[in-house]
Symmetry: C2
Subunit: 202 residues, 2 copies
């Protein structure tokens, strides 16, 4: 395998195991076994398990930060931009339900420098982009004057809420508690509608 291929395989394996077992507490031996490589490769490519987790978070979020910058340049109304953005958040938590738990784990175990990186380079750009869209909508008269910081936690919380609580999901809906494409589709439509109504100027 090429250098990049092994690195990607390890990240894919870590993400897949976190999704399957609904926890971010996954051992390096299990990750290496799933990726079908020697576990020494984790140290070789990432320095440590913690370095690998940061690389996973970075990969998961950096692509989305880039998409969000592209969205900010799109020539559409603030409402349309917000709708696309909210759909993106719901898709993100459906694909990466372990996101908030991974951040919590990293913050607990990582060096101050890495913690600063997560705050400044990953979380703030996402919150700031959403703030830009909301301010645009307020000044165009599409949105009521909400505090963008407060709305941020509505949006992220609502997305996290369904995909991160398998037991509650199974208690309320029956079944395994793992959302499938059909439920995700319904939840996304419903939640974007609810949040957009919450923003809209009456």
């Amino acid at each position: 395998m090429e250098r990049g291929a092994i690195r990607e395989k390890l990240l894919d394996a870590a993400g897949a195991l976190m999704r399957e077992f609904d926890t971010v507490e996954i051992g390096i031996l299990d990750i290496a076994a799933r990726a079908q490589v020697n576990h020494g490769m984790i140290r070789y490519y990432f320095g440590s398990k913690e370095g690998m987790l940061l690389a996973l978070l970075d990969r998961d979020l950096t692509a989305r930060i880039r998409q969000l910058s592209a969205l900010l340049r799109l020539d559409v109304t603030a409402s349309e931009r917000m709708r696309i953005h909210l759909e993106g958040i719901l898709d993100t938590y459906y694909q990466i339900p372990y996101l908030n738990r991974l951040i919590q784990l990293m913050v607990r175990d990582s060096s101050p420098e890495r913690v600063r990186y997560i705050a400044e380079e990953l979380l703030k750009p996402l919150a700031n982009a959403q703030q830009t869209i909301i301010e645009e909508g307020i000044s165009s008269g599409e949105f009521r004057p909400v505090d963008p910081k407060l709305f941020y936690f509505n949006a992220v919380g609502a997305a996290d809420g369904l995909y991160c609580n398998r037991f509650t999901l199974s208690s309320v809906f029956g079944g395994t508690g793992v959302a499938d494409d059909a439920l995700h589709e319904r939840y996304r439509r419903h939640t974007v509608e609810t949040l957009m109504a919450g923003l809209r100027k009456p």
Copy 2:
């Protein structure tokens, strides 16, 4: 101390430590020390640590289920009832930010019988009460026809979102990431407004 007093002190101590340290992984020695009782009392009153955690969850939620039944009997419009209910959810997660994590821990470690109890006696009554209010609002023409189960995860997720992610909160707002009364007040007003707008018939 009286029998009941020691029991309550232990539950208070467990809850206080979970809030302070932002984790549900608290040792029984720390809980006993905070309660200023011998740790053997945990076994005496609850059988095991897991029994104590269930008692904590039970105490935290049973009072709220009772309040919710009283709310269902109140002679007000569905909108007013929903507003009071949503404020209650926000207050709950502000006071008990560890709630979802405690449920996850219990489900992982408890007997099937206890897991069934949590689902049937604690989570379902809450979801069902909210469903009753939403159906009332739909049939009175106050609410648009939303799926109450989907809305449940919007409400719980939005409440959980602010109080359960201290690092994100600190990255976005600065400061310690622990919400104080003033921020809670603002978040509650904002979130109830957002969710009510999402329910209201346009």
